[in-house]
C-alpha cells in the first residue's frame, strides 16, 4: 500500500511540476521574442530611422519615416470608421434592440470577426481599390476598420449591460429620457471598459499586414492625403525581411521593435485602465 501511494504522490508532484514548466515555457517565449527584437532592433534604431525616407535598392541608410506616418494615418482613419459603427451599434444592442434583431447583429459581428484578414483584403480591394482605380490609405483604413468593428461592438454591448441597474433607474426616476440616460449616465459609467476595447481593437489591427498588401500597397515617398498608396510599417517589415540585403534586415528588426513596442504599450495601457475597475460616474 505504502509503495503504491508513494508512486502516486511522485507522479502527482512530477506532473504538476511539468505543468509549471509548460506555463514557464509559454511565458518565456514572450520574453525571448522581446529580447530578440531588442537585441537585433535596438542597435539599429537611430534618428535616421524615424526621419529619413528609404534609399534606392542596394544602398545603405535611409529610414522608414513614410511608413511610420503611413501606419499612423491608416490607423487613425480606421478608428474613425470602425469605432463609431461598433460603439453606436453596441448601444443599439444594449439599450434599444429586441431579441431577434440583437441576435442577427451579434451573429453578423461574430462572422465578421472570424473572417481571415487576407479575405478582408480581397473585399476591400474589390470595393475600394478597383472602383476608384488606385491603391490608397483609404482602402487600407476600410479594411482595418472593418476588423475593429466586432470587438468594439461586442465590448460596448457587454460593458453597457453590466452597468448596475440602480444607476439606470435612478436617472429614469429623475425624469431623464432614455437617450439622455444613456449619454450622461450609462456610457460614462462604462467608459473604461469601452475605451479598453477600442484600444485592444486598435492594437490588434496595428500589426495587420495581409489586408494592406492589396489596399495601401506601398509608397517610396510620403503619401499626401488619403487617396494615395501608402507605406506602412508591417508591409515594410515583410518586404525587408525576405530581401537579401543586410541593411534592410537591420531596418526590419528596428521596425519590428517599434511596431511591437507600440502594440504592447497599447495593450498594457488598455488592461491597466480596465483593472482599475468600473468608475463611478463623475458628477
Amino acid at each position: 500500500m505504502g509503495r503504491r501511494l508513494r508512486w502516486r504522490r511522485f507522479v502527482s508532484n512530477f506532473m504538476l511540476a511539468m505543468t509549471g514548466v509548460c506555463a514557464g515555457v509559454s511565458v518565456l517565449v514572450l520574453f525571448l521574442i522581446l529580447g530578440y527584437l531588442l537585441f537585433n532592433g535596438g542597435t539599429s534604431i537611430n534618428w535616421d530611422f524615424f526621419t529619413k525616407l528609404p534609399k534606392p535598392v542596394g544602398e545603405t541608410g535611409g529610414g522608414m519615416s513614410n511608413a511610420i506616418v503611413g501606419s499612423g494615418k491608416i490607423l487613425l482613419l480606421a478608428s474613425l470608421f470602425g469605432v463609431p459603427i461598433g460603439f453606436l451599434g453596441g448601444i443599439y444592442l444594449a439599450e434599444f434592440s429586441g431579441k431577434g434583431t440583437a441576435s442577427v447583429v451579434r451573429y453578423a459581428a461574430d462572422l465578421l470577426n472570424g473572417v481571415p484578414s487576407i479575405v478582408i483584403g480581397i473585399f476591400a480591394y474589390s470595393l475600394v481599390v478597383l472602383p476608384f482605380k488606385h491603391f490608397s490609405a483609404l482602402a487600407g483604413a476600410f479594411a482595418l476598420g472593418m476588423m475593429m468593428i466586432p470587438i468594439t461592438l461586442r465590448s460596448t454591448e457587454e460593458f453597457l449591460k453590466s452597468v448596475p441597474r440602480m444607476l439606470r433607474e435612478g436617472a429614469m426616476a429623475l425624469g431623464a429620457s432614455k437617450w439622455k440616460t444613456i449619454a450622461t449616465v450609462i456610457v460614462p459609467a462604462a467608459y473604461r471598459g469601452i475605451l479598453t476595447a477600442i484600444l485592444l481593437a486598435l492594437a490588434r489591427v496595428a500589426g495587420e499586414t495581409a489586408p494592406l498588401l492589396f489596399t495601401a500597397f506601398g509608397n517610396r515617398y510620403e503619401s499626401h492625403g488619403f487617396s494615395q498608396p501608402t507605406a506602412t510599417l508591417p508591409v515594410m517589415i515583410y518586404t525587408y525581411a525576405v530581401s537579401p540585403y543586410e541593411d534592410w534586415h537591420r531596418q526590419a528588426w528596428a521596425a519590428g521593435l517599434v511596431l511591437l513596442g507600440l502594440i504592447l504599450i497599447i495593450n498594457i495601457l488598455a488592461r491597466t485602465i480596465l483593472s482599475r475597475g468600473i468608475a463611478v460616474p463623475r458628477s
Partner: protein, 342 residues
C-alpha cells in the same frame, strides 16, 4: 461629444492641408528584375524635378501587367512582354492600347550556394533543364560534373529555388528552357507563373536571392545585379555557339545585337539563346508598360519626359548596376514611339 467633434475637424483639416501644394505622384508597379536601376533612376529624376514623384513598387511582372490593366497604377513594368491575349484584354477594357518601351538589357543568371564550391561553375543547357525538371537531383551528377572537371562537387541534394510570384524573370528563364529543352516545352512551358516540377518559391528577385543565400546547396535564377550586390556566385551558361559565357555587359549586349536590327514596332522580342560567339544565352530586354492614352496632362507629360531622359541621360547610370545600355537603333525607334502616347 464636443471633444470628439473637435478631433474630427482637426483631422480633416490635417488631411486637407496635406492636399495642398503637393508633388505630382505617379504610381507604377511591376518587375523586380530592373528594380535596382529603376529605383536609382526615379531617385535621380526626383532630384532633378522635385515636384515629380515616381513611386515604383517592385511586386513582380505579373502584378505589373495586371495592375496596369486594371488601371490602379499609371504604368507597369515587365520583363515578360504582354502576350496577345493580355494586350487584347487591355484594349477591351480601356478602348485604347498599351505600349512597351525597352529600358535596359539584363541577364538572368544561375546563382548557387554549394558547400565547398568557391569557383564559377559551368552549366550546359542539359544541366539546367535537368535540374529545374527535377531529374538531376545531386550536385555531383555527371551532367554537371562533366562541365566542371576541376571542381569538387559534393554528393548533396540540389535545392531548387524559383519565384513564387508572377515574374518576368521566370518568363525569361522558362523562355530559354523551352528553347533548349523539348521536354521542358511540353511539360511546363513558358510564362510568368508556371507549374514548377520542383523547388521552393521566393518572392521577387529579392526573395529568391535571400533564399539562396540562406540555404546550402541551393540553385536559382536571378537578375545579374542581385547576385553581384549580394556576393553570391553565379555560373556560366553554354550558348548556341557552344561557348561557356558568363553574364556581363559585353555578352548581354552581344545577345541583343541581332534582334536590335530587326526590332518589331511594338518592341516585344525575345533574345534568349541568341546567336553569336560571345552572346549570353539568357539575356533579355525589360519594358515599361505605358498606356497609349493618358488622361491627366500633367502625368502624361511627366511620363513622356521621363522616357526621353531614361533612354538618353539615364542610360549613363545603368552599367554601374551591371545592366547593359539600350542599343542605338532601339533608342532611335523608341524616341519616335514616344509620340504615340496621347
Amino acid at each position: 461629444m464636443k471633444r470628439l467633434a473637435l478631433l474630427a475637424v482637426g483631422l480633416l483639416t490635417l488631411g486637407a492641408i496635406t492636399f495642398a501644394d503637393n508633388p505630382l505622384l505617379i504610381n507604377g508597379a511591376g518587375a523586380t528584375f530592373p528594380y535596382p536601376i529603376y529605383s536609382k533612376w526615379f531617385d535621380m529624376y526626383h532630384g532633378k524635378n522635385p515636384n515629380l514623384q515616381f513611386n515604383y513598387q517592385s511586386v513582380g511582372s505579373g502584378a505589373g501587367i495586371k495592375q496596369v490593366t486594371e488601371g490602379t497604377v499609371d504604368f507597369g513594368a515587365t520583363d515578360g512582354p504582354m502576350n496577345d491575349d493580355q494586350l487584347k484584354a487591355y484594349q477591351d477594357k480601356h478602348g485604347s492600347g498599351i505600349l512597351h518601351f525597352p529600358t535596359v538589357l539584363g541577364a538572368a543568371v544561375p546563382t548557387y550556394n554549394v558547400k565547398g564550391v568557391t569557383s564559377t561553375l559551368n552549366f550546359t543547357p542539359e544541366a539546367l533543364a535537368g535540374i529545374f525538371l527535377g531529374k538531376v537531383t545531386k550536385w555531383n551528377d555527371p551532367v554537371i560534373a562533366d562541365a566542371n572537371k576541376g571542381t569538387n562537387l559534393p554528393a548533396e541534394d540540389i535545392v531548387v529555388v524559383h519565384r513564387s510570384d508572377g515574374s518576368g524573370t521566370t518568363y525569361i528563364w522558362t523562355d530559354y528552357l523551352s528553347k533548349i529543352s523539348d521536354e521542358w516545352k511540353s511539360k511546363v512551358g513558358k510564362g510568368t507563373s508556371v507549374n514548377w516540377p520542383v523547388g521552393l518559391g521566393g518572392k521577387g528577385n529579392e526573395g529568391v536571392t535571400g533564399q539562396i543565400k540562406q540555404t546550402p546547396n541551393a540553385i536559382g535564377y536571378v537578375e545579374l545585379i542581385y547576385a553581384v550586390q549580394n556576393n553570391i556566385l553565379y555560373g556560366t551558361v553554354k550558348n548556341s555557339s557552344k561557348n561557356f559565357v558568363k553574364a556581363d555587359l559585353a555578352s548581354v549586349t552581344a545577345a541583343a545585337a541581332a534582334a536590335s536590327k530587326e526590332m518589331p514596332d511594338d518592341f516585344r522580342v525575345s533574345i534568349t539563346n541568341a546567336s553569336g560567339n560571345n552572346a549570353y544565352p539568357i539575356a533579355s530586354f525589360t519594358w515599361l508598360l505605358i498606356p497609349e492614352k493618358i488622361q491627366d496632362a500633367g502625368k502624361r507629360d511627366a511620363i513622356k519626359n521621363f522616357l526621353k531622359w531614361m533612354m538618353t541621360e539615364g542610360q549613363g547610370s545603368v552599367e554601374a548596376l551591371s545592366y547593359a545600355k539600350l542599343p542605338k537603333e532601339v533608342v532611335a525607334k523608341e524616341e519616335k514611339a514616344i509620340s504615340k502616347i496621347q
